[in-house]
């Protein structure tokens, strides 16, 4: 009987062979990988099954006309907002008389923008902005059907949206334009929206003229709803507005929406039509 059994002999040789062959295999694999085809999906990996991610519409080039079409759609969104308020009881009693002139102002602004769009070589977009309609206007109007305080919500909605319009125009007017002269009519529309916000504020809440923010304090709140001030800030703002509305859920929380100035996801690109 030999000291080296076939099993032990095969095992000793097998270990060496395995090590050698493994190194060869790894080396060959590395060479093949380095020289191989690198094409393939560039999508980031995803785990699980989910709906495809939303995509932006075909953007094309963002021009002066793109921004003007977006602002035209913003005005039509405001017109839709006032129409929605009208079918849900209108503005609060203190401000009922402002509905007609404010609605007319938005119609006039939309016509002004239609002219600017045409002058800039853009296609007319005389309808509400789809992004703003789905996320801002429609939800707050629909919530008026089931709110715990219609007057409060109508006041907060009208004031917040006029302020949002002012902020939107202010932000857009300050951007770099191919034709800088466009800033004049756009800041004019910002100023008019800001005037309406100030007028609404003073009419709705005549006892809260100046925000404590201007003297280093904190703005007031009533059950979590922001107090409306006629003069709320030192400078015109472009930050988002948190609009609270509706009725509280089981946890006592109200619905909120963040009204933001137009950005890439709300632009009315050339590929979008009414």
């Amino acid at each position: 009987m030999s000291d080296t059994t076939p099993f032990a002999f095969d095992a000793r040789l097998g270990r060496r062979a395995l090590l050698r062959n493994s190194l060869l295999a790894l080396g060959a694999g590395a060479v093949l990988a380095a020289c191989g085809d690198r094409e393939g999906s560039t999508d980031p990996g995803r785990i699980g099954v989910a709906a495809p991610l939303p995509t932006l519409p075909a953007t094309g080039e963002v021009t002066d006309a793109t921004w003007l079409r977006t602002l035209q759609s913003l005005e039509h969104s405001m017109i839709a907002l006032y129409a929605g308020l009208a079918t849900h009881g209108g503005l609060p009693a203190k401000a009922t008389g402002l509905a007609a002139p404010f609605q007319a102002a938005h119609v006039a602004a939309a016509e002004t923008l239609a002219g600017l769009v045409a002058d800039a070589g853009g296609a007319d977009f005389a309808c509400a902005n789809p992004f703003f309609a789905d996320r801002y206007v429609n939800p707050v109007i629909e919530a008026l059907d089931d709110t715990d305080d219609r007057e409060r919500d109508a006041a907060q909605i009208a004031y917040s949206f006029e302020d949002w319009a002012a902020r939107s125009y202010q932000a857009v007017a300050a951007r770099t334009w191919s034709d800088p002269a466009l800033r004049a009519p756009l800041i004019g529309l910002a100023a008019e929206a800001s005037r309406r916000a100030g007028g609404l504020a003073l009419t709705l809440s005549p006892d809260t003229l100046v925000s404590p923010v201007l003297t280093g304090g904190q703005p007031g709140a009533d059950n979590g709803f922001p107090v409306i001030y006629a003069i709320p800030f030192r400078f015109g703002q472009i930050s988002p507005i948190e609009l609270r509305y509706g009725k509280p859920n089981d946890d006592g929380a109200y619905r909120t929406v963040s009204l933001q100035t137009p950005a890439d996801n709300a632009l009315v690109y050339d590929s979008i039509s009414c």
Binding site: A166, E192, R196
Partner: protein, 158 residues
Amino acid sequence: MTTPAQAVTPDSDAQSAAEAVALELAARDLYDTAIEAGADAPIWATLREQHESYAQRLAGIVGVSANTPDADLLAGLSESFAVTNPGEAAVELENSLVAGHTGRLAAIAGGTSTGDALASAFASIVTAEARQATVVALLSGVTDAAALYVNPSSEAGA
């Protein structure tokens, strides 16, 4: 040692901003005149502070001193402000500033850091001053919507 390149601000932008600083300082002084004459409603002190802040913001952007008010504006409106309720004169002042700054904003070419900062500053000042004009007009008893919500001093409507 090298220093970072500085954005070049066109002389016209700097000159325009310097003029606006002087006008804002004059507005501040006009509200001071009203306060000294007995206008003790908090709104007047608030507006005084607003205009001083606007002057400081613009002066800081272009690097000029905020210490010389516009003499012509002061001379033209001092008498109207030397009362206990300068509402009517204040509306005229705010609307006039809005119209002037609108023109200044439209004249900024942009594309430089200073030009862009000036554009943002003028835009934020115009929206604030327009709102102030309407608030003061309402407090002064104006009820006509056309007078409240459109600027009679501006062709652009600002």
